[in-house]
């Protein structure tokens, strides 16, 4: 299972390592100043390596998507993908309400017909990508929405290209949708990642 590392954890770890090494450098009675300087330089280099290394690990760790809603702009749920079991949740209603909230925000705050692209709540981020006939909303709890935003947009562009025309006059019959799973699996397995 892929491990998610939060930036806060990295900072705490780096500071802790630096503090321990710095304390050792100042408390241990070195025989001469050259040895002390050498040790302080070593502490600095090790801390730098630690910070850079851990930052690279954080950068390369993927954004874990908890749920994805594939919807029409009118709030009809086409597909729902989740890695959590939430039996109390009705995904059709969730999709509708998510759209209702977007409508409310757009109508309340933006006269120019803009779109709501992100909702943040405690540990959750809901990223929303729009095209003419498709809306993709991803719920993540890993606090790295910026990494997913481009993937979501690319996936949505592909879905629009493949299914947009069909969805523009969709009757509501789910069997008419075609195999959208192929593109969604590509998104969920990280194939849209650069």
């Amino acid at each position: 299972m892929e491990q998610d590392i939060k930036i806060e954890t990295l900072i705490v770890m780096s500071v802790a390592i630096f503090a321990v090494l710095a304390t050792v450098a100042f408390l241990v009675p070195f025989e001469d100043s050259n040895t002390k300087l050498f040790f302080i330089a070593l502490v600095t280099v090790l801390t730098a390596i630690n910070v850079v290394g851990l930052f690279m690990v954080w950068q390369s760790s993927p954004t874990i998507v908890d749920e994805v809603f594939l919807m029409t702009p009118t709030g009809m749920l086409l597909k729902h993908y989740t890695r959590r079991l939430r039996p109390d949740q009705d995904t059709d209603i969730m999709a509708g309400m998510l759209t209702a909230v977007q409508n409310f925000v757009r109508d309340s705050f933006d006269e120019a017909g803009g779109r709501l692209n992100e909702i943040r709540f405690e540990n959750y981020d809901i990223l929303i990508s729009h095209t003419k006939n498709v809306v993709l909303a991803a719920i993540i709890s890993t606090k790295k929405p910026e990494k997913l935003r481009v993937e979501l947009k690319n996936a949505n562009d592909d879905i629009e290209k493949a299914f947009g025309e069909r969805l523009s006059h969709w009757s509501g019959d789910k069997s008419e949708l075609g195999d959208v799973d192929v593109l969604m699996k590509k998104l969920l397995s990280g194939k849209y990642r650069k």
């Binding site: 029409t72 009809m76 209603i93 509708g96 789910k174």
Partner: protein, 271 residues
């Protein structure tokens, strides 16, 4: 047996206080509090309807958008109406002005936003209606003039509430049902073919094939159906037994619809 899942967006409109929210409260899947209607202008609920045809089962999901009835909030209302495929217009029979505004205001607004869509006109609070009241007649005349079915109902007593959804559901499925009707023309003709079809249909709807076959076998034996040379009387007797079994696993209404459809097929079959 073909299975179809169809999703339709339905909007519920009418003046404030006519009972739109109460009308659906007991009959739909509600996951969100009614306060959302006042806060964001809309609340989405769901009503599942199963429509059974001889060779087709349709799971119709009506996504019901209950929209704020205050006329001033036109912007949020227009957004919520976008993409609606069905409309339930509700008036309060005890307040004549709410009945009048259905045609004068709400219908005009829907037509501007989404055009002509399948519509049911509902007169709510029929339980409060006085005998001499003209509102019911006014509403029915309006429905007739506009060509929409009209239902008088009561959210309080539950009268006719289910009928609102089933009527609209039938209207929304007209295209699908006509496809089913076309298929009906190719339906089995001889009694043996009809029996074979009924057995398959029963098993498909029952779910557990092994159990379903045991029930069929038992009911056919009880009714004296000779599977190689069945008689209509015996098959009709067996159908009653199958319907009773379906009442326990499906719903009473589905079992009844199945029974009537199967009886019709048996009676019309050759042989």
């Amino acid at each position: 047996m073909e299975l179809k899942e169809i999703l339709k967006k339905v909007v519920l409109l009418g003046d404030g206080g006519v009972g739109k929210t109460s009308l659906i409260a007991r009959y739909v899947v509600n996951k969100f509090d009614d306060k959302y209607i006042a806060t964001i202008g809309t609340k989405v609920s769901k009503k599942d309807i199963q429509v059974v045809r001889p060779d087709l089962i349709i799971n119709l999901k009506l996504m019901i958008w209950d929209i704020l009835g205050q006329k001033e909030y036109s912007k949020i209302r227009t957004s919520s109406m976008s993409g609606a495929q069905g409309l339930i217009l509700v008036g309060d029979l005890s307040r004549p002005e709410t009945v009048r505004s259905l045609e004068d205001f709400w219908l005009k607004e829907v037509k501007l936003s989404v055009g002509n869509i399948p519509t049911v006109i509902v007169g709510n609070k029929v339980d409060l209606l006085k005998k001499e009241s003209m509102e019911a007649a006014t509403l029915e005349a309006m429905g007739e003039r506009l060509g929409y079915p009209t239902l008088l109902c009561s959210a309080k007593t539950g009268r006719n509430v289910e009928e609102i959804f089933s009527t609209l559901g039938e209207m929304l499925l007209e295209g699908v049902v006509s496809t089913a009707k076309t298929r009906k023309e190719k339906a089995p003709q001889t009694l043996a073919e009809v029996v074979d079809f009924i057995v398959q249909d029963f098993c498909a709807q029952y779910g557990d094939l092994e159990k379903a076959m045991l029930i069929v076998q038992h009911q056919f034996e009880e009714a004296g159906v000779d599977i190689r040379k069945p008689s209509k009387d015996a098959v009709l007797r067996a159908l009653d037994g199958l319907a009773k079994a379906e009442e326990l696993t499906l719903t009473k209404s589905v079992a009844r619809v199945n029974l009537e459809e199967r009886q019709r097929m048996v009676i019309l079959s050759k042989g």
